[in-house]
């Protein structure tokens, strides 16, 4: 008999890993024990050498669906005398054990089969889950993660559930949210006036939806507002009630229905079917759906049903549903029943409620697959609280708390070579979001057992996150906005700390620059610790400060004026108060200079008549411009002048003005091409002359797949780092800030 001490690292707690090991060990006839501790899972096993070898192989090869095995380390184990008689699961004891909580996961195939099986005791039960699926982070109240500290605490397990919970051979062994119709949460429907209705809630909801009504559905991380996505009148009514004229709605459908309206690629199907079950942007194909779902967009945001309730509802409907977040305009998603009754009463005709509380608001994650690879646009449900490994050279880094930006706030913590990038919170001036920011600080600190030694914030003194950092009384690292974007994309590509400099093309909305002006179209040559600005868009005034980020016409006016095309500006926007704004710009009243690439996209989108004068949602103009450009395909670009790294769009405007008959899709594509060629040229030169080892792409504008594809073409032959898991937008800012602060603390690479 031989003994082995096997250490398993990764996401191996709270995912059924110990019973999995227990079953393997019994299969192989081994004795010993398996336990959780602060480092992961520890297996002590004794038996035949061949059986031990098979166990080791199966640990990563056959791991449970929600597990992620980062490392399996094997050492000899001196088997005690007498040897254990059997293989057991040891209770977790050590401090720090069981602190890992996995992300919420979509209903697994086994649970789905059960709710569809008339003979099963969980037939049609909306809260069915097991170790491989179900709610996690959204029901967590406190640590360690066990039922008593989740919102399942009020539901006492019935004997049948308890038996499953305690049986290591059962799929529900130690599944904390285990429930059944006898003992678990209850579903009901109620009217907009709050009167509970008799009858099956799913049937009532399906009936209302078929009749074109709007239904509020309590989900995992918050309430959704649902309506029949094939019914234009229902969609229009939802837009009217939500005061949301144009921002795309997310859709939910079963696989068969989805395939009628889209043709997902293999990679897209894989993302849709992942336990994270994000919204995935997929090109329209097949049977057309109402244009009002996503006006002007070439893609729709789809997700598969991810709770039993969703499955039951969609099974009953057989058609796609709009599933948009249930909130007041500008506020985050509603999570409480009373809150829903109060705030959504004017929006929904019917409420599908349940009595399992949502402990934590988590939006649906949003992803897309571009020709260059996957991209995360919003990191939330299903992805948090997962961790990201830090690159080589950060092992000894201080524990950093990074507080992110203002608009797509998310925080990040680093420790022991891992980064915990928290969920998308939203805009911090919103009172409920600000409250959630405070809760996230507490939550993630506890989850990570984190004791920050330094706080990283943006340079911008007016971001609420910056002020929160200043008030913490800890050493502060101020990180330039676009340097943080650059560090984020380097970090998630595991660019080593000593890996040399990278030329970062950071195309963004706005961030405060190191020189006090507003940046946003930059080529930064740098590493984690520092940078220099080797390229930038020629600046133009942001006429009216933040108003310029809402009204594309302002940017068109200043750009045309700068290109000597003031008369064209007058002709293109006769109804705007141009003269008054020009005087304000001349007088320097709220008109700081900015090299923002996002504002240039806004200007061009408005020039082509693609974007409205005033946007109804952030990023609208850029998304619409991308959508029309995608209709044309690659080709020549408009000329941008490049001199000493300054990229001047004036020649582009002049060329476009001289060729006003150019079809809109072609003109839009030429804009993307010209801009990409200019920026790629500056970055490429830095690689060619040895200043940079690679090119990196980041910033909110890099969510644009047409632009990304053009950049990739102009960068062919050069190593390119792009975002895969961390948002290119400000949702990834905190991760980059953390890396910069950590690198500065470590000194020279």
């Amino acid at each position: 008999m031989q003994g082995r001490r096997i250490r398993v690292r990764g996401q191996v707690q709270g995912v059924g890993f110990r019973p999995f090991v227990w079953r393997l060990a019994r299969r192989e006839g081994l004795v010993g024990e398996v336990s959780n501790d602060a480092e992961g899972v520890l297996v002590l096993a004794a038996g035949e050498a061949g059986a031990l070898e098979r166990l080791r192989g199966a640990l990563s090869g056959e791991a449970p669906p929600l597990a992620r095995v980062d490392a399996v380390e094997v050492a000899d184990w001196a088997v005690p005398d007498p040897a254990p008689e059997s293989f057991t699961i040891a209770a977790s004891g050590a401090a720090g054990a069981e602190t890992r909580v996995t992300p919420d996961a979509a209903t697994c195939p086994d649970c789905l089969a059960e709710i569809r099986d008339p003979a099963a005791r969980r037939h049609r039960y909306a809260f069915t889950n097991c170790t491989h699926c179900g709610p996690r982070f959204t029901i967590l109240r406190a640590l360690p993660y066990d039922r008593a500290r989740t919102t399942m605490a009020p539901f006492e397990m019935c004997p049948a559930c308890r038996a499953e919970y305690e049986d290591p051979a059962d799929r529900r062994f130690h599944a904390q949210p285990i429930a059944c119709p006898d003992c678990g949460p209850r579903l009901w429907a109620e009217t907009a006036e709050g009167a509970a209705l008799d009858g099956d809630a799913v049937a009532l909801a399906a009936e209302a939806l078929m009749a074109g009504r709007i239904v509020a559905v309590k989900g995992l991380g918050g309430f959704h507002l649902a309506c029949d996505a094939t019914n234009p009148a229902a969609v229009a009514e939802l837009r009217r009630r939500k005061r949301r004229p144009a921002k795309p709605f997310a859709l939910m459908a079963g696989e068969a229905v989805l395939a009628e309206h889209a043709a997902p690629t293999g990679a897209e199907w894989a993302r849709l079917r992942a336990p994270a079950a994000p919204i995935v942007l997929i090109a329209k194909a097949g049977a057309a759906l109402p244009e009002a779902l996503a006006p002007g967009q070439g893609a729709l945001g789809w997700m598969l049903p991810y709770t039993p309730l969703h499955h039951l509802l969609l099974d009953a409907l057989g058609r796609p549903l709009v599933m948009t977040s249930g909130n007041l305009s500008g506020e985050p998603q509603v999570i409480g029943n009373d809150e829903a009754r109060e705030k959504l009463a004017g929006f929904a005709d019917l409420f599908v409620m349940h009595d399992r509380e949502i402990a934590r608001r988590l939006d649906d994650s949003v992803e897309r697959i571009t020709p260059a690879g996957p991209m995360v646009l919003r990191r939330a449900r299903g992805r948090v609280p997962g961790t990201l490994p830090l690159p080589e050279g950060f092992g000894e880094a201080r524990e950093v708390l990074a507080l992110g930006g203002q608009m797509k706030a998310a925080i990040c913590l680093t420790k022991n070579g891992q980064a915990l990038l928290g969920h998308h919170l939203g805009e911090l001036d919103e009172a409920l979001t600000w409250e959630a920011f405070g809760q996230a600080l507490e939550d993630y600190r506890a989850l990570f057992d984190h004791k920050p030694e330094v706080v990283a914030v943006d340079l911008h003194p007016g971001y609420r996150a910056t002020r929160a950092g200043e008030a913490m009384g800890l050493p502060l690292e101020r990180v330039q906005h676009h340097h943080a974007h650059l560090a984020a994309v380097m970090g998630e590509n595991l660019w080593p700390r000593g890996g040399g400099k990278v030329a970062g093309i950071v195309l963004d909305g706005l961030g405060l620059g190191a020189d006090g002006t507003i940046w946003g179209g930059e080529v930064l040559l740098g590493d984690y610790a520092g940078f220099e600005r080797i390229g930038r868009l020629a600046p133009a005034p942001l006429a009216g400060g933040d108003a310029a980020s809402r009204e594309p016409w302002r940017n068109l006016m200043v750009r045309l004026d700068a290109a000597g095309l003031g008369a064209l500006a007058d002709a293109l926007m006769p109804d705007q108060p141009r003269e008054a704004l020009r005087r304000a710009v001349a007088a320097g009243v709220n008109a700081p200079l900015s090299s923002s690439a996002g504002r240039l996209f806004d200007a061009f989108a408005f020039a082509l008549g693609v974007a409205p004068g005033r946007m109804s949602y952030e990023g609208e103009a850029g998304m619409l411009l991308e959508a029309v450009a995608a209709q044309a395909g690659p080709g020549p670009g408009w000329p941008f002048a490049v001199a000493e790294g300054v990229i001047d769009p004036a020649p582009m405007w002049q060329a476009w003005a001289a060729a006003r008959g150019t079809p809109v899709p072609l003109a839009a594509a030429m804009f993307h091409e010209g801009l990409a060629a200019a920026f790629a040229g500056v970055a490429r030169a830095a690689v060619a002359d040895g200043r940079a080892q690679a090119v990196a792409l980041s910033g909110g504008v890099l969510q644009n797949a047409v632009l990304e594809a053009a950049l990739m073409r102009y960068l062919e032959g050069v190593p390119v780092l792009r975002h895969n898991k961390v948002p290119a937008n400000d949702g990834g800012l905190a991760y980059g800030q953390a890396l910069v602060a950590a690198a500065r603390g470590l000194g020279a690479a």
């Binding site: 797509k408 001036d429 961030g511 405060l512 507003i518 108003a547 310029a548 008054a580 304000a584 700081p592």
Partner: protein
Amino acid sequence: MTLAHGGGGSAMRDLIEEVFTGAFEPDGMEDQARLEAGALAEPGARLAFTTDSFVVSPVEFPGGDIGTLAVNGTVNDLAVGGARPLWLSAAFIIEEGTDFALLRRIVASMKGEAERAGVRIVTGDTKVVGRGAADRVFVTTSGVGVIPPGRDIAAAHIRPGDVAIVNGVLGDHGACILAARGDLALSSDLQSDCAGLGHLMEAILAAAPNARAARDCTRGGLASALNEMAEAAGVGIEIEETALPLRAEVKGTCELLGLDPLYLANEGRLVVFVPKAEAQATLAAMRAVDTGAGATIIGRATEGPAGQVTMRTLFGGSRIVDMLVGEQLPRIC
């Protein structure tokens, strides 16, 4: 005006005689003001004392000039603390080359505003500096007032549930100065709201014996005044976007320039907190005074979070209204 006017010789005496002294204290001024202390001698009365410097460009604007600001600013600082303003001092730093006629107009404004407010300008000083060392004229005023016995208003007294009232439309002064300064030629009839608020405060305090606190909404606007009050009282303050009195021209100017009217300066606006039970009486009393004609309820104090000011928006969301940090830099990424 030449440097000799500041030299202390006869030219200066002439200037002071000519422009200043006659206007303020016809009976002649000593180097020090000698005042009857009777009002202060009342048992329980407290002396209120404040000072402020005024630098505004342009010096004259629709609805007033630096003189109106200098008198009313200091009068209002006294009044919102519950004091009855009595005496002011006025000190002038004058740029060489400044037009005498301008100085006379400023002095006339000061005299008029002082009379309206029932205060006397009892002492003063002038200095002349070289070109570029000042922008035409800077004025510093100090003021003394008396807080009657038993009167005690302070931001720390605000309690959850108290009602916030302003005395009229917001941002007129700030918008008017912006329009004048940038030569924006915004077709508007905007006038500064500059006014003394002493009489209005007396009316408020008579109608609302338990009035908690008042602030004039000067630099930093209503937003800054509310933040200071929330902080001092350890309460939250919630205002309603739909209840904010704003002139269409001010709204339009703010939209064009991308500015938030909550942060625009006012020179004749105050916000006062009174117990809910006294709110209607306060409103009625305020509306009976000319400077309070536009009085309206804009919000209330809440349990918290302490120090946080929020605004219920048109569509029901709740936005945090912060203190302004430095200049307003764009934040939308």
